[in-house]
């Protein structure tokens, strides 16, 4: 029996790895996801055949409930809320790992080896911080407010880092003493659970909206590592393989996001943009004149353009403008222009956020390009339309050494012949930094709601 299970796990591990491999192209990704799901189904079915499992009734209750809730969430939630949904799923996975660790302790507390105790405390630590961190990330993405306290803002106070460090040391001591303490009482374990949950909150608390893609990637990695530690608790190889794959995936995404912002992970976690805003503002109060444009004039310029580059940002998601944008793109193409969409890796609130929104609006994925593809040919672009993006097109990142975002790779729209910036007002971006792009001689500001602005340009075309 156990050999059959092991062979099934082997096949499932192949499915997981192969499924991820097929994710390397949009044309095979769907099959890849199915492969992965098949591997999961196989793992679940053979595990249920395990002879030690005796209580099926409760398992059935849990699985049916989970199946219903999971299906409803996956089908009902609008795609614009994808970052929130991923954060919630992440958190649930983390909590599940924590509970498994806790229950493993309850069942074996009389014959707990130091190895088992260590892996259990690691499971609880990683699972707990994944859960509470993800829930706070969800609240930040959702824009939850407690009276005057806006969660989406980075919450900082002086001495925060020292406090966090002391706190982390405290938790580690708790975990180590749990692992080696002969009595290993339940109280220590409960303390560890509480500590892990608090740690997740304090880690995510100081992180602002623009850094969300990094946090979500990191929590994704943790949820995998939590599954991994569960694997070591239960001495189960498929848990370790699958958990490690996810852990690696999250780490790579985190790395890509950090590179795209030219920041180290430590810098994101411990001193975000919030710390430098104050010094950046006021440096150059008078930057020149802003040149507004109305939709009729914008239409005339677009109508004459033979190449148009659309640069979407989080503002497009907020305004739900993706469908109008796609419509405009199609009209421009029908008019003979070449239309591309340049997407910065950190645009939006999670890795690939813009790509999913545009895919939802039916934009073909082969016209979505990355900054390094368009920057070399930027001079040949007639019109660049910046829709709800700000920091990722800020020329200060290249030109102003004093800027907090100096060195961050950007989409260099300022080198295009004409730049339209669709923006609600002159307020600064999430990083709180002034953007000299708005004052350049080739920039025209199209003020107003992104969706309405795009729709009225579309109306001019018709």
């Amino acid at each position: 029996m156990s050999t059959i299970i092991q062979v099934a796990y082997l096949i499932a591990a192949f499915f997981f790895a192969f499924g991820l491999k097929m994710m390397s192209s949009p044309s095979t990704a769907r099959r890849g996801n199915l492969f992965s799901a098949l591997g999961m189904l196989l793992t679940i079915v053979v595990t249920l055949l395990h002879q030690e499992i005796v209580q099926y009734q409760w398992i059935l209750v849990g699985m049916v409930l989970g199946l219903l809730l999971g299906t409803i969430a996956a089908v009902r939630v609008p795609l614009t809320s994808m970052p929130e949904l991923v954060a919630v799923f992440n958190g649930l996975g983390g909590l599940a790992s924590l509970l498994v660790g806790w229950e493993a302790y309850n069942q074996q507390q009389h014959q707990l080896s130091w190895f088992l105790a260590t892996t259990i405390s690691l499971t609880i630590l990683i699972g707990g911080l994944t859960f509470s961190g993800s829930m706070l990330a969800w609240a930040k993405l959702k824009g939850v407010k407690f009276k005057a306290l806006e969660l989406s803002q980075p919450l900082r106070f002086s001495g925060q880092q020292i406090l966090n460090t002391l706190f982390l040391i405290g938790i580690l001591i708790l975990g180590i003493s749990f692992s080696f303490e002969p009595q290993r009482n339940q109280l220590l374990l409960l303390g560890l659970i509480g500590g892990a949950l608090l740690l997740g909150l304090t880690v995510v608390m100081p992180i602002g909206g623009a850094d969300m893609p990094i946090v979500i990637s990191l929590l994704n990695s943790y949820s995998g590592l939590a599954a991994c530690t569960v694997g070591f608790v239960m001495l189960n190889n498929i848990l370790i393989v699958a958990g490690a794959l996810v852990g690696a995936s999250g780490l790579i995404l985190t790395n890509i996001m950090c590179k795209a912002m030219n920041r180290s992970l430590a810098n994101v976690l411990f001193s975000g943009f919030g710390a430098v805003i104050d010094t950046a503002i006021g440096e150059k109060a008078d930057q020149g004149e802003v040149r507004p444009v109305n939709t009729a004039d914008a239409y005339l310029i677009l109508e004459a353009a033979s190449s148009v580059l659309i640069v979407p940002g989080y503002g497009m998601a907020v305004a739900q403008a993706q469908h109008s944008v796609r419509e405009l793109g199609e009209l421009l193409e029908a008019n003979g222009a070449e239309v591309k969409y340049a997407i910065h890796p950190v645009a939006g609130r999670m890795p690939g956020h813009m790509n999913v929104l545009l895919a939802e609006a039916n934009v073909s994925y082969d016209v979505l390009v990355e900054p390094e593809d368009v920057n070399p040919i930027m001079e040949t672009v007639d019109v660049c339309m910046v829709i709800g993006a700000n920091d990722v097109v800020n020329p200060d990142a290249k030109e102003n050494e004093g800027s907090p975002i100096y060195g961050m790779p950007i989409i260099e729209v300022d080198r295009a012949k004409t730049v339209f910036v669709l923006k609600r007002s002159m307020a600064s971006g999430f990083a709180g930094i002034q953007n000299p792009l708005f004052f350049k001689s080739n920039t025209r500001m199209l003020f107003g709601d992104a969706k309405e602005s795009v729709s009225s340009v579309v109306a001019e075309f018709k």
Binding site: A29, V100, N106, A248, G352
Partner: protein
């Protein structure tokens, strides 16, 4: 440390390297589905949940913890795969 544990560490190390190699090849346009898809895989903790829930003693606390873990992990797995599939069906090339 027993041989089994070292063996599992072996698997862990190789799986991390495999993961890094595989994920590095995923294009930026698929990063969100990759994330929700790998998130669904991390629901593999369900296996652990099934084993502890199915073999547990009959105390009420154990049952509650076990069933909750099974439920949450199932939501993670089912929801994760479904929503990934939903997103991926939208990635289309023109003319197809």
């Amino acid at each position: 440390m027993s041989n089994e544990i070292v063996f599992l560490m072996f698997i862990f190390m190789l799986a991390i390297f495999l993961g890094v190699e595989l994920i590095s090849k995923v294009p930026a346009t698929l990063h969100t589905p990759l994330m929700s898809g790998s998130n669904a895989i991390s629901g593999i903790a369900l296996i652990g949940a099934l084993l502890v829930a199915g073999t547990g003693n009959n105390s009420i606390l154990s049952t509650i913890i076990g069933v909750t873990a099974v439920t949450l992990a199932t939501v993670n797995v089912v929801g994760g795969y479904l929503v990934t599939q939903r997103m991926l069906t939208m990635f289309k090339k023109k003319g197809k």
